[in-house]
Subunit: 220 residues, 2 copies
Amino acid sequence: MQKIMIIEDDEIITQELKDLLQNNGYLAITLTNFNNALEEILKEKPDLILLDINIPYMSGELLLQNLRKKSNVPVIMVTSNNQETVEALSISYGADDYITKPYNPNILLLRIMAVLKRSNMNSNKLIYHDLEINLGKGIIKKDDKEIILTKNEMIIFSYLLNHQNRIVTRDELMTDLWNNEEFINDNALTVNISRLRSKLKEIGYDNIIETRKKVGYILS
Amino acid sequence: MQKIMIIEDDEIITQELKDLLQNNGYLAITLTNFNNALEEILKEKPDLILLDINIPYMSGELLLQNLRKKSNVPVIMVTSNNQETVEALSISYGADDYITKPYNPNILLLRIMAVLKRSNMNSNKLIYHDLEINLGKGIIKKDDKEIILTKNEMIIFSYLLNHQNRIVTRDELMTDLWNNEEFINDNALTVNISRLRSKLKEIGYDNIIETRKKVGYILS
DNA sequence: GTTCTTGGTTACAAAAATGTAAGGTTAAAC
DNA sequence: GTTTAACCTTACATTTTTGTAACCAAGAAC
């Protein structure tokens, strides 16, 4: 279930929104002012934020601007209809979409779905058992622990993950790593595997890469 | 249309296989012996290989072993029914699946589909317009040209790609790169963008990252 | 126009990644 | 058991990546 945070000062609208979201399968939490808004967001880690731009004492843009220094959570701006340059303002400071009041509930839901979908699609994350893998950043997360793989380590680990059901030969890994451009010491692969193993050990995956002598490696 | 190479010495079986594949929407090419098999494979770049293990003068295993030093193309081994330790042999040397003769055409087709699907899913490749992006390796290919991005460059480029429809603020990119762990010179981002731009220029993407002064960047 | 802020470029030094070499360990073959 | 080949580990040097600093360019504000 995905968590949506509503940041809105009008109690009636807040309740309306909350009902709408909960009736459609979302977990809705609310915030009626900007006191500690940043802290609340970082603590609650919502999957999406509906942010009213007109809350007194602090502009939505400023909050968004500060938020973007800490988090990339998707944000949909909610604005008054008469507000000018709404698009420019909201999109400029890092909002993912915007909607004007009064809004059509169905359209709002569609926008939310679209933003959430894009956010999930674009996270570039791969899940393998209890590991969350970010290929581009080389980050492997397990629960609260994480390791950072270098490019070579990531290439090896990806290859093993992608051929889990069988033994992977050293030749295959060499090809994947260096494409046989020039001769590279056979041992370079061994060293890279060794480095990968010791990092995986840090997050509790000891012996996950098994050696099959004279044949290759296999993920267990 | 996906190209499948059949490596088989029995002419009747070859023809049968070819018909079967062509009738099911594949482009089938054949090779009846191992003369220059490696060269042919590297030239034709098939999406999958059906390899008969019993061709005279050279064992299928040896070919596969040599092939794996050059290419990671998926291979399905075709073997005689009476052959022992077929699984161990074929899977050991880097085959993705195997099937025994006489085979059921429908099962063979299913196996082919499964291997191709896994191969595509696992390529870890992302397509954007005419760019082929390998996140883990940091390789961006355009036609015959390619550039290799460093981790930071890849992070920035991915982020821009994933938010194509709007302006991305510098704060967002800073968060994505360094997660505000410690203070990092604002200029570090500028420098990384500059490096990314000059690499993209090499493959003909000049000015693809537009600066919106005081606001951020946008992919054009 | 001039000034000033923002972003860009280049060069450089620090840090990280990576291949190599030397010696160690393990397990298969005999 | 002994030998040997295959793989592992550690340390080190080279190369690559990366942040910083100094200076440059462009465009917004006046």
